[in-house]
Symmetry: C2
Subunit: 65 residues, 2 copies
DNA sequence: ATAGTATGTAATATATAAATTGCATATGCA
DNA sequence: TGCATATGCAATTTATATATTACATACTAT
């Protein structure tokens, strides 16, 4: 599940740990999602999008490899 | 997790069973997602969106109650 | 009436997302 | 040099999405 979470988070100068706390998961979960090796739940995707001021599509839709 | 899956599926005259087969889950899973009682995985959301010719945002983003 | 289709729902089982813990490396700073 | 921060990664545990099976109702057509 390739996505734009990592690049978007880094643009905001937020750490994995900070994003994780904001959306209520652990740092490891954010790390694995950014790596594209996880298939996160819709709720978590929405929480991450809201925290990064993006929409679902911007982070998770048709992300080019 | 309120969403627009049910209304969109019905517009296409597709049954829950047909959509379920196309995206590789069971009828019950589609039923629960439409009911808003499930927190589906991102992969499944993407599969449903593609099958219904919609984007993630159109089906799952800021859906009014 | 009655058979088929579409849907709702519930109980239990299974697969996997996510948590937890721990250890590693790289980097920046005192 | 040594300490704190940020990240990667792996093993095990826990929570939950999804499958399976089953039974129910409503509707349509025969």
């Amino acid at each position: 599940m390739k996505n734009n979470v990592k690049i978007t988070r880094m643009k905001t100068s937020m750490t994995q740990e900070q994003l994780a706390r904001k959306v209520g998961v652990t740092r490891q979960t954010i790390g694995l999602i950014e790596k594209g090796e996880y298939n996160p739940s819709l709720q978590l995707c929405v929480a991450i999008a809201e925290e990064l001021n993006k929409t679902l599509d911007e982070l998770f839709w048709e992300v080019e490899v």
